[in-house]
Amino acid sequence: MTTPESNTRSRPRDEVSDEPHRATDAAPQQLALLHARLADAADEQGLLDVAYRIIDTPVGPLLLAATERGLVRVAFEREGFDAVLAHLAERVSPRVLRAPSRLDDVARQLEEYFAGQRRAFDVRLDHALSSGFRALVQQHLPHIPYGHTESYKQVAAVLGNPGAVRAVGTACATNPLPVVVPCHRVLRTDGSLGGYIGGLEAKTALLQLEQAA
């Protein structure tokens, strides 16, 4: 042992060489653990404005996002998850974090739905991404019963605006909560599919699922 005065190492290095040493790179699993801790801490401190997770389903991966008020977005992979998250950051809040636990309930209900064991969703919805007539249409959609369909024209009539067929089409095409809010149950008057945010293949699959169950 040495005294401070005689300790030759007691002088800090020069400014020039003064670079904190590099620790070894973190293992990915440690960063995953840290990320999970961060998500919990952010939620506890009321910072988790938008929590999201991605689940696998028979119609491909779905991104689920929720605010503290409820489910705010369901997105198909073809929409581009990065673009969807960027849009959420812009429209809702940039405090967006992958935080699966807030989506546990809806993920379980979707699993049951795709297994043919659930006919309606019981989750709180946040309609922050829709307004005006679109919001009106989207709030009507859950009233179309499981396994049934309505035409764009019928929906327009039910909402007391029979001329707004195209606007109903737009509202369905821009539904921020597909599957959970069943815009797939709206077809053209002639029974043809019309469009679908998740692609026509997904729309067909959902309709067949509901027919079979």
């Binding site: 401070p4 300790n7 190492r9 400014e15 003064d18 590099r22 620790a23 998250l85």
Partner: protein, 166 residues
């Protein structure tokens, strides 16, 4: 336009952990400092100017949070035996201590320093930061930070000797 915060964590998470580990040198909990860093960053994220250098901003927060961890540990008298024996550059104010009791005295002396000196000593000798970065953390110039650290060390030597003799 602000990116989703998730992207910030994904891009900079490993770098922030390296900074926390470098400052803490494996002695205090780098995981806690990492979490505190991103919580603070997430809180401020919506208000951060769009043209800010995100990486530099995170490094600054990470160093501050890591030093907070060190200080939190330093305040716990019972934990003094666990204090690091060496800073990243291999020197600590208590490097000469030959026993836990002696080390305890050194740290009591560190804690008794005026605030600016204590911070400058901690940033310099605990965290191994260059003076220009210490100046950024504390405010003022690099020279002022250097003087504060040097005055702190002088005071330490004096008070430590007094204790030894008294």
């Amino acid at each position: 336009m602000k990116l989703p915060f998730e992207q910030v964590v994904a891009e900079h998470g490993a770098m922030v952990l390296r900074v926390c580990r470098a400052v803490l040198d494996g002695h205090a909990d780098a995981d806690d400092a990492w979490t505190e860093t991103f919580i603070a960053a997430m809180r401020a994220w919506p208000e951060l100017p769009d043209d800010a250098n995100v990486e530099a901003w995170l490094v600054t927060i990470a160093k501050r949070k890591a030093i907070d961890e060190i200080r939190a540990r330093g305040r716990r008298a019972v934990a003094l035996g666990d204090l690091p024996d060496a800073a990243p550059d291999g020197w600590m104010p208590d490097a000469a201590a030959t026993s836990d009791a002696e080390r305890h005295d050194v740290w009591r002396a560190v804690r008794a320093l005026p605030e600016r000196q204590r911070h400058a000593v901690a940033y310099r000798y605990f965290a191994g930061l260059p003076y220009r970065e210490i100046a950024e953390l504390m405010g003022g110039t690099a020279d002022a930070a250097r003087r504060a650290a040097s005055d702190g060390i002088k005071n330490l030597r004096r008070s430590y000797r007094n204790e030894q003799e008294g």
